[in-house]
Amino acid sequence: MKLKNKVLLSMISATALLFLFQNCSNTGFMQGRDLASEWSSSLDPFFAYYYQTPPVAYFDGVLVIPNDADPAARFADIGFIGSLSLVDGSQPSLSYKLELRKNDGSRVCPQQTGTLGTRTRIEFDCVTSNLQLTSNEWLVAWIQFTANGKTYTLEKPFH
């Protein structure tokens, strides 16, 4: 058989082999545009998903405020119960600083520091001094944490 024919047959065989593995490529991965369209369609106020960019960690929680009849005493003692966990499932030790602030950035109670390991729950008891909120003010849970040698900040607003 001529060399030309051998080359031709080899090329056909190689092409056939390539076709066999075409489904193994990564072309089906969601690209940025697909993710963005999914973002707008999947946002649900029920979840109050407030991240505008891909977060490093999920930070969520609620404020627990005594149902006090006296409005002046309502924010005297605020509890925060929430969690902080890395998005990729790895759980290194996370050092964090947590503050409860007003939306203008002013701190309403002393900062709490802590370290999370396998436990992802955060509880924070915030005793305030005569805190009252006007209609234009709201509370923000502010957290700063260190993961994989970098420091990140997340803020969760409570209107």
Binding site: K6, V64, I65, G89, T120
Partner: protein, 203 residues
């Protein structure tokens, strides 16, 4: 001469077919082994102590390269909902508002095929046994809309309707007002900003 060439072509065609068949079998075998090695699983990103009401519970699909996924949740009290993370194709969140028990059904399309995963039941405890008010965090548009409204609109309008009431106004109404009301013509807003103001007015 011609007979020799024909014989050669037949030989190589046969050899090619055999090689292709063997390659197909090998590929199928490899994919099968690969698929078995890649079994997806669902991992809760929060520890059990954090599975409480009102806090979004994140979950991660591990073990495969996820291309696409859908998820549905069923719960005893019907208070739980599921949301796909818009940034991470491997993640989804579940949130419940009552003490509940939920199960999640996830469909995943990965590089090795399709998978259906059932996860649960997961017990969600009441966040606290005290009588409390738990302010629900709102849509980010609320804060943006409030900020824009206070900066641009409060010289003439109030949200509560005591001055030029705006309740129920939509983004389209705002667009029309900007183009027709002379005092508002200097205002320049993007569609998203108008939407945020309309959202603030409606909430």
């Amino acid at each position: 001469m011609e007979g020799g060439l024909l014989h050669d072509v037949r030989f190589w065609l046969l050899a090619g077919a055999i090689v292709k068949r063997i390659a197909t079998l090998l590929a199928t075998l490899l994919l099968s082994v690969f698929a078995q090695a890649q079994t997806p699983s669902i991992v809760s990103l929060n520890d059990a102590d954090t599975l409480v009401t009102h806090v979004a519970l994140p979950f991660h699909i591990a073990g495969v390269t996820v291309k696409e996924r859908t998820a549905s949740v069923q719960s005893t009290s019907g208070s739980c909902k599921v949301m796909l993370d818009p940034f991470y194709v491997t993640n989804f969140l579940v949130k419940c508002t009552k003490a509940d028990q939920f199960s999640v059904q996830v469909w995943v399309r990965s590089s090795v095929g399709e998978h259906r995963i059932n996860y649960g039941p997961v017990t969600v405890a009441l966040i606290t046994d005290q009588t409390v008010v738990t302010p629900e965090p709102q849509d980010p548009r609320f804060a943006q809309g409030q900020q824009l409204f206070n900066a641009l609109c409060t010289s003439c309008h109030t949200k509560d309707g005591t001055q030029l009431p705006l309740q129920g106004k939509t983004a389209a109404d705002i667009t029309q007002a900007i183009s027709t009301v002379s005092a508002m013509r200097s205002i320049s807003l993007t569609t998203a900003e108008k939407d945020a103001i309309a959202f603030y007015l409606g909430n």
